[in-house]
Symmetry: C3
Subunit: 361 residues, 3 copies
Amino acid sequence: MTQMRKLVNVADMKRDWWDDLYSRCRDIIARPGVYADSCRGKILASMFYEPSTRTNFSFQAAAQRLGAGVFGFSDPVGTSASKGETLADTIRMTAAYSSTIVIRSPQEGSATAAALYSEVPIINAGDGGHSHPTQTLTDLTTIAQKRGSIGNIRIGLCGDLKHGRTVHSLVEAMEMFPNISFYLISPHELRLPDYVLDRMKNVEQNFIESETLIDCIPELDILYMTRIQRERFKDAGEYRRLKDVYVLTKKMLDGAKKDMQIMHPLPRYGEIATDVDTDPRAAYFEQARYGMLIRMALLLEFMHLPREHPPITENDPDAAPGECVNPACITRSDTYLPRLVSRSGIDRCGYCDKKVSEMLL
Amino acid sequence: MTQMRKLVNVADMKRDWWDDLYSRCRDIIARPGVYADSCRGKILASMFYEPSTRTNFSFQAAAQRLGAGVFGFSDPVGTSASKGETLADTIRMTAAYSSTIVIRSPQEGSATAAALYSEVPIINAGDGGHSHPTQTLTDLTTIAQKRGSIGNIRIGLCGDLKHGRTVHSLVEAMEMFPNISFYLISPHELRLPDYVLDRMKNVEQNFIESETLIDCIPELDILYMTRIQRERFKDAGEYRRLKDVYVLTKKMLDGAKKDMQIMHPLPRYGEIATDVDTDPRAAYFEQARYGMLIRMALLLEFMHLPREHPPITENDPDAAPGECVNPACITRSDTYLPRLVSRSGIDRCGYCDKKVSEMLL
Amino acid sequence: MTQMRKLVNVADMKRDWWDDLYSRCRDIIARPGVYADSCRGKILASMFYEPSTRTNFSFQAAAQRLGAGVFGFSDPVGTSASKGETLADTIRMTAAYSSTIVIRSPQEGSATAAALYSEVPIINAGDGGHSHPTQTLTDLTTIAQKRGSIGNIRIGLCGDLKHGRTVHSLVEAMEMFPNISFYLISPHELRLPDYVLDRMKNVEQNFIESETLIDCIPELDILYMTRIQRERFKDAGEYRRLKDVYVLTKKMLDGAKKDMQIMHPLPRYGEIATDVDTDPRAAYFEQARYGMLIRMALLLEFMHLPREHPPITENDPDAAPGECVNPACITRSDTYLPRLVSRSGIDRCGYCDKKVSEMLL
């Protein structure tokens, strides 16, 4: 297979690649001392165009545990990026100094754009609401570690399923594994979007939708909690009513399986009561540690890839002229980027995945 | 003895522990090359909820000189901590990624609270006006290095003795060493607080109070200068009058012992004239270096301790309900913390050491 | 020769020193693996009193590729420096923790001042409009790498030659090499200053002045582009007219030599069109990488120098009392600095190089 040089979307992950990655992760867990020098002389560039403490710390710790150095910013204020340099130029400079680049940005498609100009591998650490694949790797690793393998489970996804990038990615990644049943637990107005449900049907993933957390709990092997953000509701009263229904408390665990695992991408803001923290089923703090460990496995692969001039990417000849309608798309600010369209069923913007039919013509 | 897993207060330091620590420090000074790899693969988390350049740099340098990596923040702006995550959750995440956590905070008792939730050792790098034990280690190391040992000295403490956390801690730490005489040199309104003087009497520490620096100088083996902050005075004229009396100049050293050592925690803002800097008795710049070296010895111990789940801490059953009256106490913002009381003579808040009789009942 | 302990000005570089440095750089390029541990246990202090992403990242990457650690700030907000500590005290503290200090400051002469108080080597990473010698090293390395050696070339310098510190330094450094011809390409109002032209005549450097880029291109071995800043023009219309004349496009390369090299200190803001980027003559992205590599060679030298008390510097007895007239000179804020005058033909301020005749008497 072609050597993977970027991790930008969940769709970049294939089963073989995951199996290799996870097997490396298991060895890192088993024999940490062996890896302390494995990226000696290598450098991670950590470019956070918006703050994300957890992801940032996790990558910095991962790189340094392998013996690599780290430079970068956790906020673009005062960088040349903030002074009007293009993303392309900033990436070329950063690639000149580093062995792998991690990029986090509020602009969707940033990591795809970065990869067009980088001599070193690119990792997407979150580009707006679009994609955050190392969070998905974290989730898969936690499930695999706590259960021995990923197949044959009933997983409850609870909270705001409409806006939750984390949940959409996890559902997509689960296509790689056999016999997964989903319990989709949310208020009606925060259901999984139809296009996700349609894809689940297409690939024959089992799911049940429910509005009640407590009723589903006894069935679950994994309960994945997510945040319900106040700003998603037009009506404050509606928010207060729903919020409490989706708060997990120790008492609600009475009917749960003894080996159910409770996960959460963190940070939480009340959707898991603190009395759950001491329950042996609470896996969300370990999840953070698995996130660092799987990132070590990823960096170990990417940092050793040879430096390579990226091929010159031209405009897609069939792409309509004009720009993406998505105001958060990287092509809106970085207008020199080649026009790209991805074609898989529906034509989509090659950066942010917005439907082309919605692009300006 | 029980393995120490945190350094939060001066009271945590026992003589045996200090002797071990200092002996390790001496070996680091004697054979620096031996230690360049001694914390390879380890990570220091450096969490500065308020800026403190000197302490922060000193820990970062110490960790890296041992081969460890460092991540963290020097200011909490833009971190998830600043977005409302609890200290407990932030600490659990940070501990997942690191081998030891250094925490600096304006909130008193933060480090004690952090230690309740951390799988890795906690070092207090200053929690408000409460405690800053590695400054005390710095001072002890400087005295030991410049004089060969710490006992049998006359030490002058000069400046604002009322508010100076550094001075209170040094006096307390000196209880471990024999035959120390203190010259307490300050304006009357900035005398050592009565509770410190009472403790000195209880443990039979010798002291003399004086308002005049110049008269004491000939007696001293160590002169420890501290800052007099303008904001401590109601009357600006009073400030100007007193300020100059407590400024050390080269001329004032005429009557001093040839081997007297001048110390200062730095930064200084005028209380030692720059013409003193080239005097061989000026030890305050070396003091900064000793601060890094003793922190290396401390990190060398802590970074190799095994990861351990902290025991679950319950409310002290005898603690009165309610909250600490100290508005700077960590329990005021982090209300989920278990109620703790420390009982040694007087009952005190288990976090900030404020008297329980002053707690709300 | 005396061991060099600071790199502050281009005048500090001698031909022998450059030859040694560059030969070390070539070996680092040839055998990178050999150097991954060569500064193990060493620490770079990176003190950026104003942001400069590129220079900062480049030094951080360089140090860590040699196995050294890094601490510092990329912006002085919240540091004790920003709270009123003198530069001298900040430097003494920083030197206590580090093996080499890199300093960037908007105040001219800062690095010279820093070197008076530092026990470790000082590198000037830019002090206002005054000096930025590692940019010059970057330029020399790029020329040497792309052409095999530095002598016998025709080099075009294009853009704002009046204000460009980069260009002035490059011209000065080129005095070390034989048979260099300069094409000085700029609008009349942005010509090289007379004092630079006078020095070129004195040392018999060949040069031609021109207002037209396109006419010079066929003659050149190197074309060094620089930015024309809008704020240099009183008249916005004049700016718009001139700006486009000095923008390099792919089309303009038709008449250029096949092996001409295009350089730029970066960041660029439009003065090289992006269609030039894929031309094989575009060397400006490689230039960034050479900048890191030559900084590795420099750090490798400096980090291994023994710690040394700087000699006490007294006021120059012949220096007039008073202060430098340059409002950006470090002596204006740090008034304790000894008065220094450098005498080479014209007497100049020993910090910022402003003529003494312009100093207040």
